[in-house]
Amino acid sequence: MDSNIDDTQHSPAGSYQQRATSSGTLPNEFVGLSITNSQHLQLHHQAFADDYLQPPLPPPPPPPPAMGDNSGVIAFDITEKFRIAAQTLEPGELVKDGHFTLFESVGALEIMDPKMDSGFLAPGESLDEDYDVTRPLLPREVIGIIDRLLSLEMAWHLGHPLSQTLLTNVYIERMLNPEPMSLEEADFIRDRGAEKDPMHQVLRAYCLGLVKTCWFVNERIKQEHYHEEEDFVTNTYTRSLLEDIDADEIRDEIMEARKVVYNLRHRITDEVSWALGFRLELRSAFLRVIELSDLRSDPDSLSLPWSQMKSVWEAIEKSRHLGTPVPEAFSTKIQRRLASTMPPRPIVELSPDETYKHFKKLIADGIAVLDVLKYEDTQSLLNFVVTFQAQKPQPMVYIRTLLQSFLFKDMVILGRLSIRHILDADLCLIALPSARLLDRTNDLVEAPHHPHYAIAHQMELFRQRAAQSYLDIFRVFCQNRCRIRRTLFHSIHDWDAVHADALDIDSLLQHQLEEPHITYEKSGPLWNKPLSSWAYFYKLRIMEWCVQFGFELEIYAPDELPKMYYYLYWLTRTRVKLIEHFRIFVNSRYADYTAGIPNCLTVNTNVTENEFIRSRAYLNQAHFEAAATSDMAESLTLIYKALMKEKLIDSSPPQPYGNDALRFQFRMRGFARCDIPGLPEWEEYLSLDGPRYTSATMLEHAKHLLIETRRWLEGMCELSPDKSFTFNCHERWKEGVENILRSLIAMDELCGRLLELIELRGAGGLEGVVKVEIGKPKDWHHEFWAVPTLVELKGVEGGGKK
């Protein structure tokens, strides 16, 4: 490259032009400056920066900026005025307007600081890499380059920017810059003659496939919900990733290159020929995967290219040793030519083993995610999404956005279902099997005074009100774990509003149906209120998730754990009661139906029997799950309380600022805005370890609570996908239940050993005898259950663990 480096080893080309590009988002006016001790001006608005950088002699005034047709703007040269004004400032004095925030100040750059100034060159350093892309390549070098590219591609998938990954490769940079307008131009050697070096042809085909795949992946991610720079960096630094080059043409190039490799097999050995062939095949399969994903058709046919990738990937792994690294074909200097304000940052190095592991996981998740398309029922769908995203490690952002596109693309759920279909199916399952409210014939009634007309109208209003909040649950679970928790806190308030509106719609519908109340022995007259109860059901479930994700993400301090488990117990107990409410009404209508008694809410069709059966099965299952959580949460609350009573966990660590009440208020404020369910009576929580309870009585009660729960969980593990509402995700779900069961067993053993020790020690207490370790989520059997472990400090008699 021509070197226009000046004496200060500072290259204007690499620095200011780029920043001017990226400063386009800042207001086009002077926003801030600071004066250094040497009175050297440092401007932090790049449009002005060029003029003031080279003291001591003032440069000639810049030409007036080209105004084009923007007449009416008159340019003044304020350089001299500015210098005079600046001299009146003390060093360190700050000039800024009121809108200049911390964010802008962090974006400021310091010229001549190698970590901030992208044009800064160390003595003797050249601006650009000087790698010759036309040099002949050995087949093993091509393997080496490709394997490094695979590692960089994976680093990009994992969230590192292109500038530090694939765009550090000289071949890719030359292929993309200047932007190729045709397939022929898309080559790192432009204007090469008809004669192509075969190894160049192979590498070019590989790069074409790679870059085009990256374009598709980037577009997919941008179309869905993700968090820029947190989950992924979609920035391409104005490099076009072969957007306008046809994928089919690229696949043809890859096919051609495979033929070339095959024909060379005698010269380059079979082994090397295969190794190159597999790498090309991976590119072609990945392109095919992407092409088919848009169809959302039959999952079995979609899985073919993924399966192909899977077997090819294993073959690539086995031939890794054949590659010869070509480190000089990768350079951080390319970053100086990208539209970025950053000085070159290091290439992200992923080890071959990490690359292998992550690609394997990407492919496995790519195959597994297709099963979501085999829709059976709404609760299986929810279980699919929740268990899929709960995997450790969580699926990569590309897979998560693929799942979102399967679910929501074009507002068609899973490529074939309407939002109404999904919403009605869920209402039917939880609250309204065979119900008049969901009867599609209501839509056909045209007489405005007919009750069915009014029902159709009210139900439509309800759907409009609830659909977004309902679909958001699925969308939220496609985010990273931290965002799921934070976004679910917002969902609480969405559902609170849906709940309130649904109460109004329920009373209108009840009037239209003339639905009577049910007199229930325990609680007097009960009104059905199916829509608001359904909304309440999800609101509670979301609140439970918010608490549970707090455990998983280690949000709570040890002394908060019993409170949060108590709150979880209280929420799930409330939901158990709500499920009981659904069961009363569904069972009552089902009894009418089997006895042939007409019911104002029930519509008899050929699916009525089945809908009742499915609903009753779901409510049964939901009851067990909620009750199991409730009992375990209460039990763990008591265990923590006992540990605090025994002074094994500090119940109120000294904290000089704020106070417990404020801390608790802060912790609950994401929940406290809901009128329903409100907050628990904390007297009850506090009374749990009141004077009349000993540690032993609390632990005995905690142990007792687990007896029945254990039977439920053991029974749950035996359920079929049909009974557990886990179609297409049964194995993942079952593994989760088994882990919860392991947590329960650990709690039971902990209670047992503590009781033994308490008895052995008598009045001596447990302090200094045992130590409690809460550990990290990865140490727990299940990330929602922070079951502590005991470390026995000195030999204590008894049959327990040492």
Binding site: G159, A557, Y657
Partner: protein, 195 residues
């Protein structure tokens, strides 16, 4: 002045703790920068330091060696209405905290944080917030011992890809107020989230 004090495992005796003042810029700003940027892969420009020190110098405290007056520790804070959501609160923010490695483990950071909190409390702060890397156990322990709670986890918050926790110390009753802490989503940028 620019280099940090030499490593020393012995306690340096009674450190001098002083409040920063603009007149100390020449004497201490280079040392402050050096101390803070030591562990940063992406250093802040001098403008960032001045952004804080010029506006909230009274919320910056220095720990100095008793005899040499070398800089040993520093805390830099800001305090302003948090207006992204209504009603606004007066939110204190601990932007930077650093103690020279040879002097750690003597409670110097705790003393500096306490001075920062007390200065902000005197100026009527409703709350104090900060972010810390999830792997920085000593920092989290320090803040949690003082009464901070973790409010949320921030996925891949730092440039190096590691996650952070937002820690909050509530100083006043915020009863009836809109929940602010969970409202950062969907916004282009909560300015606290980038520092």
């Amino acid at each position: 002045m620019a280099e940090t004090p030499p490593s020393s495992t012995s306690h340096p005796g009674n450190l001098k703790y002083i409040r920063y003042d603009h007149s100390l810029e020449t004497k201490y700003l280079p040392a402050i920068r050096a101390l803070i940027s030591k562990d940063l892969s992406e250093p802040y420009s001098i403008y960032v330091y001045r952004y804080f020190l010029y506006q909230w110098g009274h919320l910056c405290f220095l720990a100095l060696h008793p005899t040499t007056e070398d800089l040993i520790g520093v805390i830099i804070c800001k305090l302003e209405p948090h207006i992204s959501h209504s009603p606004p609160t007066l939110r204190g923010y601990i932007a930077m905290l650093a103690v020279s490695s040879g002097y750690r483990g003597h409670g110097i950071a705790t003393t500096l944080v306490k001075m920062g909190i007390e200065a902000m409390t005197q100026r009527n702060a409703d709350e104090v917030v900060l972010e810390t890397e999830e792997t920085n156990i000593p920092a989290m322990r320090l803040y949690e011992r003082l009464g901070f709670l973790r409010s949320k986890k921030l996925h891949r918050y730092y440039l190096n890809g590691s996650s952070a926790y937002r820690l909050v110390l509530l100083l006043k009753n915020a009863e009836g107020e809109e929940d602010r802490d969970f409202d950062a989503e969907g916004m282009a940028l909560d300015e606290d989230e980038i520092s």
